[in-house]
Symmetry: C2
Subunit: 236 residues, 2 copies
Protein backbone atom coordinates (compact mmCIF):
# COMPACT_ATOMS: atom_id res chain seq x y z
CA UNK A 1 0.00 0.00 0.00
CA UNK A 2 1.44 3.45 -0.77
CA UNK A 3 2.64 5.38 2.28
CA UNK A 4 2.99 9.13 2.58
CA UNK A 5 4.26 11.86 4.85
CA UNK A 6 3.28 15.50 4.89
CA UNK A 7 5.54 18.51 5.51
CA UNK A 8 3.56 21.68 6.15
CA UNK A 9 5.89 24.65 5.77
CA UNK A 10 4.90 27.98 7.21
CA UNK A 11 5.51 30.28 10.17
CA UNK A 12 1.94 31.54 9.69
CA UNK A 13 0.54 28.18 10.87
CA UNK A 14 2.77 27.87 13.95
CA UNK A 15 2.13 31.45 15.05
CA UNK A 16 -1.62 31.11 14.53
CA UNK A 17 -1.94 33.82 11.88
CA UNK A 18 -3.75 31.40 9.59
CA UNK A 19 -5.22 28.00 10.43
CA UNK A 20 -3.85 25.02 8.51
CA UNK A 21 -6.51 23.74 6.13
CA UNK A 22 -4.26 21.51 4.03
CA UNK A 23 -3.48 18.90 6.71
CA UNK A 24 -7.13 18.10 7.50
CA UNK A 25 -8.02 18.06 3.78
CA UNK A 26 -5.16 15.73 2.81
CA UNK A 27 -5.88 13.42 5.76
CA UNK A 28 -9.41 12.84 4.45
CA UNK A 29 -8.38 12.66 0.80
CA UNK A 30 -5.54 10.18 1.35
CA UNK A 31 -7.78 7.99 3.48
CA UNK A 32 -10.32 7.79 0.65
CA UNK A 33 -7.56 6.98 -1.83
CA UNK A 34 -6.17 4.19 0.36
CA UNK A 35 -2.77 5.87 0.76
CA UNK A 36 -1.44 5.53 4.33
CA UNK A 37 -0.49 8.91 5.81
CA UNK A 38 2.07 8.16 8.52
CA UNK A 39 3.43 11.52 9.65
CA UNK A 40 2.63 15.22 9.49
CA UNK A 41 5.21 17.82 10.46
CA UNK A 42 4.46 21.51 10.66
CA UNK A 43 7.70 23.48 10.49
CA UNK A 44 8.85 27.08 10.01
CA UNK A 45 10.11 28.69 6.78
CA UNK A 46 13.68 27.66 7.65
CA UNK A 47 16.08 26.06 5.19
CA UNK A 48 17.73 23.54 7.54
CA UNK A 49 14.45 22.39 9.03
CA UNK A 50 12.83 21.86 5.64
CA UNK A 51 15.86 19.90 4.45
CA UNK A 52 16.03 17.80 7.64
CA UNK A 53 12.36 16.83 7.54
CA UNK A 54 12.41 16.07 3.81
CA UNK A 55 15.45 13.79 4.29
CA UNK A 56 13.66 11.90 7.08
CA UNK A 57 10.33 11.50 5.31
CA UNK A 58 11.71 10.86 1.84
CA UNK A 59 13.71 7.87 3.12
CA UNK A 60 10.81 6.48 5.10
CA UNK A 61 7.71 6.85 2.92
CA UNK A 62 6.79 6.21 -0.71
CA UNK A 63 5.64 9.81 -1.13
CA UNK A 64 6.27 13.10 0.59
CA UNK A 65 3.92 16.04 0.09
CA UNK A 66 5.14 19.50 1.00
CA UNK A 67 2.77 22.45 1.23
CA UNK A 68 3.65 26.12 1.18
CA UNK A 69 6.68 28.27 0.46
CA UNK A 70 6.62 28.20 -3.35
CA UNK A 71 5.75 31.81 -4.14
CA UNK A 72 8.02 34.64 -5.32
CA UNK A 73 8.75 36.37 -1.99
CA UNK A 74 11.70 36.16 0.40
CA UNK A 75 9.89 33.76 2.74
CA UNK A 76 9.31 31.19 -0.04
CA UNK A 77 12.23 28.78 0.31
CA UNK A 78 10.72 25.32 -0.09
CA UNK A 79 12.54 24.50 -3.35
CA UNK A 80 15.84 25.57 -1.77
CA UNK A 81 15.09 23.35 1.26
CA UNK A 82 14.24 20.32 -0.88
CA UNK A 83 17.37 20.92 -2.98
CA UNK A 84 19.48 21.02 0.17
CA UNK A 85 17.87 17.78 1.40
CA UNK A 86 19.19 15.94 -1.65
CA UNK A 87 22.42 17.89 -2.16
CA UNK A 88 21.12 19.36 -5.41
CA UNK A 89 21.57 22.80 -6.93
CA UNK A 90 18.77 25.07 -8.08
CA UNK A 91 18.19 26.07 -11.69
CA UNK A 92 15.53 27.85 -13.71
CA UNK A 93 13.52 25.12 -15.39
CA UNK A 94 12.98 26.22 -19.01
CA UNK A 95 9.43 24.82 -19.20
CA UNK A 96 8.37 26.59 -15.99
CA UNK A 97 9.98 29.81 -17.19
CA UNK A 98 8.02 29.54 -20.44
CA UNK A 99 4.71 29.01 -18.62
CA UNK A 100 5.32 31.95 -16.29
CA UNK A 101 6.31 34.23 -19.18
CA UNK A 102 3.19 33.24 -21.12
CA UNK A 103 0.98 33.76 -18.10
CA UNK A 104 2.43 36.93 -16.61
CA UNK A 105 3.70 38.73 -19.70
CA UNK A 106 5.26 42.05 -18.72
CA UNK A 107 4.79 41.30 -15.03
CA UNK A 108 7.16 38.30 -15.21
CA UNK A 109 10.02 39.92 -13.32
CA UNK A 110 12.98 38.34 -11.50
CA UNK A 111 10.87 37.68 -8.41
CA UNK A 112 8.23 35.83 -10.42
CA UNK A 113 10.91 33.73 -12.11
CA UNK A 114 12.01 32.53 -8.67
CA UNK A 115 8.93 30.27 -8.85
CA UNK A 116 10.63 28.49 -11.77
CA UNK A 117 13.90 27.97 -9.85
CA UNK A 118 13.70 24.32 -8.82
CA UNK A 119 16.14 21.56 -7.82
CA UNK A 120 18.25 20.21 -10.69
CA UNK A 121 16.59 17.09 -12.12
CA UNK A 122 13.06 17.97 -10.98
CA UNK A 123 10.26 16.22 -12.83
CA UNK A 124 7.25 18.15 -14.03
CA UNK A 125 3.88 16.41 -13.89
CA UNK A 126 1.44 17.70 -16.49
CA UNK A 127 -1.33 15.23 -15.60
CA UNK A 128 -4.80 16.26 -16.72
CA UNK A 129 -3.47 18.81 -19.20
CA UNK A 130 -2.85 21.49 -16.59
CA UNK A 131 -1.45 24.88 -17.55
CA UNK A 132 1.01 24.91 -14.65
CA UNK A 133 2.62 21.56 -13.78
CA UNK A 134 3.46 20.05 -10.38
CA UNK A 135 7.16 19.98 -9.56
CA UNK A 136 8.36 16.65 -8.14
CA UNK A 137 11.86 16.03 -6.77
CA UNK A 138 12.56 12.30 -6.45
CA UNK A 139 9.55 11.20 -4.32
CA UNK A 140 8.76 14.70 -3.02
CA UNK A 141 5.72 16.46 -4.49
CA UNK A 142 5.93 20.21 -3.92
CA UNK A 143 2.43 21.69 -3.49
CA UNK A 144 1.41 25.32 -2.99
CA UNK A 145 0.11 26.43 0.40
CA UNK A 146 -3.06 28.16 -0.81
CA UNK A 147 -5.76 25.57 -0.03
CA UNK A 148 -7.87 26.00 -3.18
CA UNK A 149 -4.75 25.72 -5.37
CA UNK A 150 -3.42 22.71 -3.49
CA UNK A 151 -6.73 20.91 -3.87
CA UNK A 152 -6.94 21.62 -7.60
CA UNK A 153 -3.37 20.45 -8.15
CA UNK A 154 -3.74 17.40 -5.93
CA UNK A 155 -6.85 16.14 -7.73
CA UNK A 156 -4.97 16.13 -11.05
CA UNK A 157 -2.31 13.76 -9.71
CA UNK A 158 -4.35 11.82 -7.11
CA UNK A 159 -4.56 8.77 -9.40
CA UNK A 160 -0.84 8.18 -8.75
CA UNK A 161 -1.39 7.54 -5.02
CA UNK A 162 -4.28 5.08 -5.16
CA UNK A 163 -4.20 2.11 -2.79
CA UNK A 164 -6.87 0.01 -1.11
CA UNK A 165 -8.93 2.00 1.40
CA UNK A 166 -9.02 0.69 4.98
CA UNK A 167 -12.15 -1.10 6.16
CA UNK A 168 -13.50 0.27 9.42
CA UNK A 169 -15.83 -0.84 12.19
CA UNK A 170 -16.80 1.41 15.04
CA UNK A 171 -18.38 0.24 18.32
CA UNK A 172 -19.52 2.27 21.30
CA UNK A 173 -19.78 1.21 24.93
CA UNK A 174 -20.65 2.83 28.25
CA UNK A 175 -18.09 0.56 29.95
CA UNK A 176 -14.90 2.39 31.00
CA UNK A 177 -11.51 1.96 29.37
CA UNK A 178 -10.02 0.08 32.37
CA UNK A 179 -12.93 -2.37 32.14
CA UNK A 180 -12.41 -3.15 28.46
CA UNK A 181 -8.61 -2.86 28.36
CA UNK A 182 -7.84 -6.58 28.81
CA UNK A 183 -10.32 -7.55 26.11
CA UNK A 184 -8.82 -5.06 23.66
CA UNK A 185 -5.29 -6.24 24.44
CA UNK A 186 -6.32 -9.84 23.77
CA UNK A 187 -8.02 -8.84 20.50
CA UNK A 188 -4.94 -6.89 19.40
CA UNK A 189 -2.80 -9.97 20.15
CA UNK A 190 -5.07 -12.35 18.22
CA UNK A 191 -5.59 -10.11 15.17
CA UNK A 192 -2.36 -8.18 14.62
CA UNK A 193 -3.60 -7.21 11.14
CA UNK A 194 -6.42 -5.21 12.75
CA UNK A 195 -5.60 -1.77 14.22
CA UNK A 196 -7.72 -1.31 17.35
CA UNK A 197 -8.23 2.15 18.81
CA UNK A 198 -9.99 3.17 22.01
CA UNK A 199 -11.26 6.74 22.43
CA UNK A 200 -13.12 7.95 25.51
CA UNK A 201 -15.63 10.72 24.79
CA UNK A 202 -15.65 12.46 28.15
CA UNK A 203 -17.70 15.40 26.90
CA UNK A 204 -20.73 13.26 26.10
CA UNK A 205 -23.51 12.16 28.44
CA UNK A 206 -23.39 9.35 29.21
CA UNK A 207 -19.64 9.08 28.81
CA UNK A 208 -18.88 6.51 26.14
CA UNK A 209 -15.79 4.84 24.75
CA UNK A 210 -15.59 4.53 20.98
CA UNK A 211 -13.66 1.47 19.85
CA UNK A 212 -12.51 1.48 16.24
CA UNK A 213 -11.24 -1.44 14.18
CA UNK A 214 -9.36 -0.90 10.94
CA UNK A 215 -7.88 -3.38 8.53
CA UNK A 216 -7.56 -4.27 4.87
CA UNK A 217 -8.30 -7.91 5.79
CA UNK A 218 -12.08 -8.20 5.87
CA UNK A 219 -12.18 -11.69 7.41
CA UNK A 220 -9.89 -10.62 10.28
CA UNK A 221 -11.95 -7.46 10.80
CA UNK A 222 -15.20 -9.43 11.06
CA UNK A 223 -13.68 -12.05 13.40
CA UNK A 224 -12.14 -9.40 15.66
CA UNK A 225 -15.39 -7.45 15.73
CA UNK A 226 -17.34 -10.62 16.63
CA UNK A 227 -14.87 -11.39 19.45
CA UNK A 228 -15.31 -7.89 20.93
CA UNK A 229 -19.10 -8.03 20.80
CA UNK A 230 -19.09 -11.48 22.42
CA UNK A 231 -16.88 -10.25 25.27
CA UNK A 232 -19.84 -8.70 27.03
CA UNK A 233 -18.87 -5.05 27.47
CA UNK A 234 -21.94 -3.79 25.65
CA UNK A 235 -19.85 -2.97 22.56
CA UNK A 236 -22.62 -2.24 20.08
Amino acid sequence: MPTAGLVIIGNEILTGKFPDENGPWLIRRLRTLGCDLLRISIIPDALDEIAEEVVLQSARFDWVFTTGGVGPTHDDITFAGVAQAFGLGLEHHPELVAVLRAKLGDRCNTAALKMAEVPVGSELWWDGGVIYPLTVVKNVCVFPGVPSLLQLKFEKVAHRFVGVPLLTRRRTTTATEPEIADTLTEAARRWPEVAIGSYPRLDETPIVVIVTLESRDEAALIACDRFLRAAGHGLE
Copy 2:
Protein backbone atom coordinates in the same frame (compact mmCIF):
# COMPACT_ATOMS: atom_id res chain seq x y z
CA MET B 1 11.65 33.78 25.18
CA PRO B 2 10.44 30.23 25.94
CA THR B 3 10.28 27.91 22.93
CA ALA B 4 8.11 24.83 22.57
CA GLY B 5 7.42 21.86 20.31
CA LEU B 6 4.31 19.75 20.12
CA VAL B 7 4.11 15.99 19.57
CA ILE B 8 0.58 14.85 18.73
CA ILE B 9 0.40 11.10 19.18
CA GLY B 10 -2.44 9.18 17.61
CA ASN B 11 -3.30 6.97 14.65
CA GLU B 12 -6.83 8.35 14.88
CA ILE B 13 -5.64 11.77 13.69
CA LEU B 14 -3.56 10.50 10.77
CA THR B 15 -6.31 8.17 9.55
CA GLY B 16 -8.95 10.88 9.85
CA LYS B 17 -11.13 9.10 12.41
CA PHE B 18 -11.05 12.16 14.65
CA PRO B 19 -9.90 15.69 13.79
CA ASP B 20 -7.04 17.10 15.85
CA GLU B 21 -8.38 19.84 18.11
CA ASN B 22 -5.34 20.12 20.37
CA GLY B 23 -2.89 21.51 17.82
CA PRO B 24 -5.07 24.49 16.82
CA TRP B 25 -5.96 25.19 20.48
CA LEU B 26 -2.34 25.11 21.67
CA ILE B 27 -1.19 27.27 18.72
CA ARG B 28 -3.57 30.04 19.82
CA ARG B 29 -2.90 29.59 23.54
CA LEU B 30 0.91 29.63 23.23
CA ARG B 31 0.77 32.68 21.00
CA THR B 32 -1.20 34.54 23.67
CA LEU B 33 1.28 33.43 26.35
CA GLY B 34 4.27 34.59 24.31
CA CYS B 35 5.76 31.10 24.09
CA ASP B 36 7.20 30.40 20.61
CA LEU B 37 5.82 27.19 19.11
CA LEU B 38 8.42 26.04 16.58
CA ARG B 39 7.32 22.58 15.47
CA ILE B 40 4.29 20.30 15.49
CA SER B 41 4.61 16.62 14.62
CA ILE B 42 1.65 14.29 14.30
CA ILE B 43 2.83 10.70 14.60
CA PRO B 44 1.31 7.22 15.08
CA ASP B 45 1.03 5.26 18.35
CA ALA B 46 4.45 3.70 17.72
CA LEU B 47 7.16 3.40 20.36
CA ASP B 48 10.19 4.19 18.19
CA GLU B 49 8.56 7.16 16.51
CA ILE B 50 7.46 8.69 19.80
CA ALA B 51 10.96 8.23 21.23
CA GLU B 52 12.65 9.64 18.12
CA GLU B 53 10.49 12.77 18.01
CA VAL B 54 10.81 13.41 21.76
CA VAL B 55 14.61 13.14 21.50
CA LEU B 56 14.67 15.67 18.67
CA GLN B 57 12.28 18.20 20.24
CA SER B 58 13.56 17.86 23.80
CA ALA B 59 17.09 18.79 22.73
CA ARG B 60 15.92 21.70 20.59
CA PHE B 61 13.19 23.48 22.57
CA ASP B 62 12.68 24.64 26.14
CA TRP B 63 9.45 22.67 26.42
CA VAL B 64 7.88 19.73 24.66
CA PHE B 65 4.17 19.04 24.95
CA THR B 66 2.89 15.60 24.03
CA THR B 67 -0.81 14.90 23.59
CA GLY B 68 -2.55 11.53 23.62
CA GLY B 69 -1.69 7.94 24.47
CA VAL B 70 -1.91 8.13 28.27
CA GLY B 71 -4.98 5.97 28.91
CA PRO B 72 -5.20 2.37 30.16
CA THR B 73 -5.55 0.52 26.84
CA HIS B 74 -3.03 -1.32 24.64
CA ASP B 75 -2.69 1.64 22.25
CA ASP B 76 -1.63 4.03 25.05
CA ILE B 77 2.16 3.96 24.92
CA THR B 78 3.26 7.57 25.31
CA PHE B 79 4.96 7.08 28.70
CA ALA B 80 6.86 4.09 27.30
CA GLY B 81 7.91 6.18 24.29
CA VAL B 82 9.12 9.08 26.44
CA ALA B 83 10.97 6.65 28.73
CA GLN B 84 12.70 5.12 25.70
CA ALA B 85 13.67 8.59 24.47
CA PHE B 86 15.68 9.22 27.63
CA GLY B 87 16.81 5.63 28.27
CA LEU B 88 14.68 5.44 31.41
CA GLY B 89 12.69 2.57 32.86
CA LEU B 90 9.01 2.71 33.79
CA GLU B 91 7.70 2.40 37.34
CA HIS B 92 4.41 2.82 39.14
CA HIS B 93 4.57 6.23 40.78
CA PRO B 94 3.21 5.84 44.32
CA GLU B 95 1.44 9.21 44.33
CA LEU B 96 -0.31 8.49 41.02
CA VAL B 97 -1.28 5.02 42.23
CA ALA B 98 -2.78 6.58 45.38
CA VAL B 99 -4.84 9.09 43.37
CA LEU B 100 -6.15 6.43 40.99
CA ARG B 101 -7.07 4.10 43.91
CA ALA B 102 -8.89 6.93 45.68
CA LYS B 103 -10.72 7.92 42.51
CA LEU B 104 -11.61 4.53 41.02
CA GLY B 105 -12.01 2.39 44.16
CA ASP B 106 -12.91 -1.18 43.18
CA ARG B 107 -12.58 -0.36 39.50
CA CYS B 108 -8.84 0.37 39.91
CA ASN B 109 -7.60 -2.75 38.14
CA THR B 110 -4.23 -3.55 36.57
CA ALA B 111 -5.20 -1.74 33.36
CA ALA B 112 -6.13 1.44 35.25
CA LEU B 113 -2.82 1.34 37.14
CA LYS B 114 -1.01 1.44 33.79
CA MET B 115 -1.87 5.16 33.84
CA ALA B 116 0.40 5.47 36.90
CA GLU B 117 3.34 3.71 35.19
CA VAL B 118 5.63 6.58 34.23
CA PRO B 119 9.33 7.07 33.45
CA VAL B 120 11.63 6.78 36.49
CA GLY B 121 12.32 10.24 37.87
CA SER B 122 9.15 11.86 36.51
CA GLU B 123 8.06 15.04 38.24
CA LEU B 124 4.44 15.58 39.19
CA TRP B 125 3.04 19.09 38.88
CA TRP B 126 0.19 19.75 41.30
CA ASP B 127 -0.23 23.43 40.29
CA GLY B 128 -3.60 24.91 41.19
CA GLY B 129 -4.42 22.18 43.69
CA VAL B 130 -5.53 19.68 41.05
CA ILE B 131 -6.74 16.21 42.03
CA TYR B 132 -4.73 14.53 39.28
CA PRO B 133 -1.27 16.01 38.57
CA LEU B 134 0.55 16.52 35.29
CA THR B 135 3.45 14.16 34.67
CA VAL B 136 6.62 15.86 33.42
CA VAL B 137 9.75 14.02 32.27
CA LYS B 138 12.73 16.41 32.08
CA ASN B 139 11.30 19.14 29.80
CA VAL B 140 8.50 16.97 28.37
CA CYS B 141 4.96 17.64 29.61
CA VAL B 142 2.71 14.66 28.97
CA PHE B 143 -0.87 15.80 28.29
CA PRO B 144 -3.96 13.70 27.64
CA GLY B 145 -5.48 13.61 24.15
CA VAL B 146 -9.07 14.40 25.13
CA PRO B 147 -9.37 18.11 24.25
CA SER B 148 -11.43 19.24 27.26
CA LEU B 149 -9.04 17.45 29.64
CA LEU B 150 -5.96 18.83 27.92
CA GLN B 151 -7.31 22.37 28.13
CA LEU B 152 -8.16 22.05 31.83
CA LYS B 153 -4.73 20.63 32.62
CA PHE B 154 -2.88 23.14 30.44
CA GLU B 155 -4.53 26.15 32.08
CA LYS B 156 -3.29 25.02 35.51
CA VAL B 157 0.34 25.04 34.39
CA ALA B 158 0.20 27.78 31.71
CA HIS B 159 1.91 30.28 34.05
CA ARG B 160 5.14 28.30 33.64
CA PHE B 161 5.36 29.07 29.91
CA VAL B 162 4.78 32.80 29.92
CA GLY B 163 6.92 34.97 27.64
CA VAL B 164 6.37 38.25 25.84
CA PRO B 165 3.69 38.04 23.15
CA LEU B 166 4.67 39.00 19.61
CA LEU B 167 3.55 42.37 18.27
CA THR B 168 1.84 42.14 14.91
CA ARG B 169 0.96 44.44 12.02
CA ARG B 170 -1.06 43.30 9.06
CA ARG B 171 -1.31 45.14 5.71
CA THR B 172 -3.31 44.27 2.62
CA THR B 173 -2.59 45.14 -0.99
CA THR B 174 -4.09 44.41 -4.39
CA ALA B 175 -0.58 44.41 -5.87
CA THR B 176 0.69 40.93 -6.77
CA GLU B 177 3.46 39.08 -4.93
CA PRO B 178 5.99 39.46 -7.78
CA GLU B 179 5.37 43.22 -7.68
CA ILE B 180 6.04 43.57 -3.96
CA ALA B 181 8.73 40.89 -3.62
CA ASP B 182 11.77 43.19 -3.92
CA THR B 183 10.35 45.62 -1.38
CA LEU B 184 9.72 42.81 1.11
CA THR B 185 13.20 41.40 0.57
CA GLU B 186 14.72 44.80 1.26
CA ALA B 187 12.58 45.24 4.40
CA ALA B 188 13.59 41.78 5.65
CA ARG B 189 17.24 42.69 5.09
CA ARG B 190 16.97 46.03 6.94
CA TRP B 191 14.94 44.75 9.88
CA PRO B 192 16.07 41.18 10.58
CA GLU B 193 14.28 41.33 13.95
CA VAL B 194 10.95 41.61 12.14
CA ALA B 195 9.42 38.46 10.65
CA ILE B 196 7.70 39.40 7.39
CA GLY B 197 5.17 37.07 5.84
CA SER B 198 3.37 37.35 2.50
CA TYR B 199 0.12 35.47 1.93
CA PRO B 200 -1.89 35.69 -1.29
CA ARG B 201 -5.65 35.23 -0.80
CA LEU B 202 -6.60 33.83 -4.16
CA ASP B 203 -10.14 32.97 -3.11
CA GLU B 204 -11.09 36.58 -2.45
CA THR B 205 -12.35 39.18 -4.94
CA PRO B 206 -10.38 41.23 -5.65
CA ILE B 207 -7.37 38.98 -5.02
CA VAL B 208 -5.29 40.52 -2.26
CA VAL B 209 -1.95 39.80 -0.64
CA ILE B 210 -1.82 40.00 3.15
CA VAL B 211 1.57 41.10 4.46
CA THR B 212 2.21 40.43 8.14
CA LEU B 213 4.94 41.86 10.32
CA GLU B 214 5.83 40.30 13.67
CA SER B 215 8.41 41.29 16.22
CA ARG B 216 9.03 41.81 19.90
CA ASP B 217 10.87 45.04 19.02
CA GLU B 218 8.20 47.73 18.69
CA ALA B 219 10.50 50.41 17.23
CA ALA B 220 11.70 48.04 14.51
CA LEU B 221 8.13 46.98 13.79
CA ILE B 222 6.97 50.56 13.37
CA ALA B 223 9.96 51.51 11.20
CA CYS B 224 9.54 48.45 8.99
CA ASP B 225 5.81 49.09 8.67
CA ARG B 226 6.45 52.72 7.70
CA PHE B 227 9.00 51.63 5.07
CA LEU B 228 6.49 49.25 3.48
CA ARG B 229 3.70 51.81 3.39
CA ALA B 230 6.05 54.38 1.84
CA ALA B 231 7.10 51.95 -0.89
CA GLY B 232 3.94 52.64 -2.88
CA HIS B 233 2.34 49.23 -3.33
CA GLY B 234 -0.90 50.32 -1.72
CA LEU B 235 -0.06 48.40 1.46
CA GLU B 236 -2.77 49.71 3.76
